[in-house]
């Protein structure tokens, strides 16, 4: 029994960030899995923990923390273990810049595409009345809108196109940054890499025409380097859905331009 409990879904996007940060830091935690596709995060048990109904949340002693990136910074500062932020203040600024860029600009675009192709179809077969009730229970109006769009396939062509444009821009930016440095924001592994891996671990599968060993060798080198870390393997092994198993693509030595199957 640890004094840290993490409420999370899959090692993917926001949930995976504090999962991997805790594991890299060597902090033992009780894992409380919430099935996003079963709307566990909007049920009373969890709303008692986090009234906003967003995942992840972390309980440390009597305190509850939300917002995945801010949780990661907390984990790095509050516990002993290997530092996950660089020493140099300008490097630290760069870590924070890239995390915000991914959290607020690039991530939502990946997410919109992911919700359109994965989350929406995965829940659509449920009973319509049950879905309606589930949506009405969502505390935040923004999340209600997002879920409605995903469930009923209401993302407009225009917004999906804009998301795809941003994904392409983001991939170019990541490739360029990783051509300059070994890791995303400095010359050492940091929270920015944990954040980025959660966003991009399946890139060569989800965006095969934009990211592969030919076009984005630095991104692929970086993803494989993070995947090679024992804690990443242990963390992704906690995944239960086919979505997360896609990480195995990184075991391939070379991923060419042709779409992979």
């Amino acid at each position: 029994m640890s004094d840290v409990t993490l409420y999370h879904w899959e090692p993917n996007a926001n949930s995976g960030k504090p999962m991997l940060a805790l594991m890299e830091k060597g902090v033992a935690f009780d894992s409380h899995y919430l099935d996003l596709l079963n709307f566990d995060q909007h049920k009373p048990d969890y709303l008692a923990v986090n009234p906003q109904g967003t995942i992840p949340a972390m309980r440390h002693g009597s305190r509850v923390l939300t917002e995945s990136t801010a949780i990661m910074e907390y984990v790095d500062e509050a516990f002993a273990g290997p530092p996950l932020m660089p020493q140099d203040p300008r490097d630290r600024w760069r870590v924070r810049w890239w995390m915000k860029f991914m959290d607020q600009w690039l991530g939502p675009s990946f997410s919109m595409i992911g919700w359109n192709v994965f989350v929406g179809p995965a829940v659509r077969s449920k009973d319509p009345e049950e879905l309606k009730t589930a949506v009405e229970r969502i505390p935040l109006p923004e999340r209600r809108t997002a879920w409605r769009k995903a469930i009923y396939g209401l993302f407009s062509e225009e917004e999906l196109k804009e998301s795809q444009r941003r994904v392409a821009v983001g991939i170019r930016m990541l490739e360029e940054a990783l051509g300059r440095r070994e890791w995303l924001a400095s010359d050492r592994f940091s929270l920015a890499d944990i954040n980025g891996f959660n966003l991009g671990y399946a890139l060569p599968l989800s965006q095969p025409k934009l990211s592969n060993d030919e076009m984005t060798p630095n991104i692929l080198r970086w993803l494989r380097a993070i995947y090679a870390r024992p804690m990443t393997k242990a963390c992704w092994a906690m995944g239960r859905t086919p979505m997360v198993k896609r990480v195995a693509i990184l075991e391939q030595q070379y991923i060419g331009k042709e779409p992979v199957t």
Binding site: L65, A70, E73, A78, R90, R92, W97, R165, M173
Partner: protein, 251 residues
């Protein structure tokens, strides 16, 4: 190592960075640029990813060794780490988490609303040549929308609601406190930065919010803040706006 701060009028993100600079006593050269005329895009580092693609929109740029740094909250964290003056962040990790979360929510919800209302009331446009230099396609689109006039009723109503929510949150937070996080911090600077210009535009949101009014006065009374405000070139710096962060695309 020398630092240069390219800043606009002391409002929004430029306010945060200038006040943080003076609070922390960091030595830097200062260059006033007109953010509302897109002058940031003339800087030598303008096309660097971390400048061109800043989520904050038109904000100040701090240049160190030719590297441009953007995003006012993170610049303020940086100044806090290198400065020898007063501290702008709590020491305790939990209090820091509270401060970073506060700023994040402010940037995501309040800042886009303030920029929309500010630019709607005080429209600015950039010429075609400057527009062509803007590296971010979506920031360019925000300038184009601004040129067309920001008058969408739903956007205005949504923005006003978000400002009112922010004021309510601040009023509640200040119960028994002098500063938002207990001790003075970046949260005070960033909150003031985006809300100072709303007093004139949305007086109803500030009505009967005595703690907020007192707090704003306390912020202004700080010597570092007074110094930042003294750099204004216009009589009302809080009326100076340029496209800020975009309104959340997820709803």
């Amino acid at each position: 190592m020398s630092m240069t701060v390219y800043h606009g009028e002391p409002n929004g993100p430029s306010f945060t960075v200038l006040a943080a600079l003076f609070e922390t006593g960091v030595d830097a050269a200062m260059v006033h640029i007109d953010l509302a005329q897109g002058q940031r895009h003339e800087l030598p580092c303008a096309q660097q990813a971390e400048v061109a693609m800043s989520v904050e929109g038109e904000g100040p740029v701090v240049v160190m060794d030719e590297e441009g740094m953007t995003d006012s909250v993170f610049i303020a964290c940086y100044l806090d780490e290198v400065g020898k003056g007063g501290k702008l962040r709590p020491k305790d990790p939990y209090a820091r988490w509270e401060m970073m979360t506060w700023c994040r929510q402010l940037i995501e919800r309040t800042a886009p609303a303030a920029a929309y209302l500010g630019l709607s009331a005080h429209p600015r446009t950039v010429d075609a040549a400057t527009l062509a230099k803007i590296g971010s396609v979506d920031l360019r689109a925000r300038w184009q929308n601004a040129a067309a006039g920001l008058s969408a009723e739903d956007r205005l109503a949504d923005s006003k609601m978000k400002i009112a929510q922010a004021i309510n949150k601040i009023e509640a937070q200040l119960d028994g406190r002098e500063w938002l996080m207990g001790e003075f911090s970046i949260a005070d600077l960033e909150s003031y930065a985006w809300l100072a210009g709303m007093v004139e535009l949305l007086p109803s949101a500030f009505a009967e919010r005595p703690r907020t009014a007192d707090w704003m006065q306390r912020v202004r009374m700080r010597p570092a803040v007074a110094k930042a405000l003294s750099l204004a070139r216009q009589p009302a710096p809080a009326a100076s706006w340029a496209p800020g962060p975009e309104i959340n695309r997820w709803g």
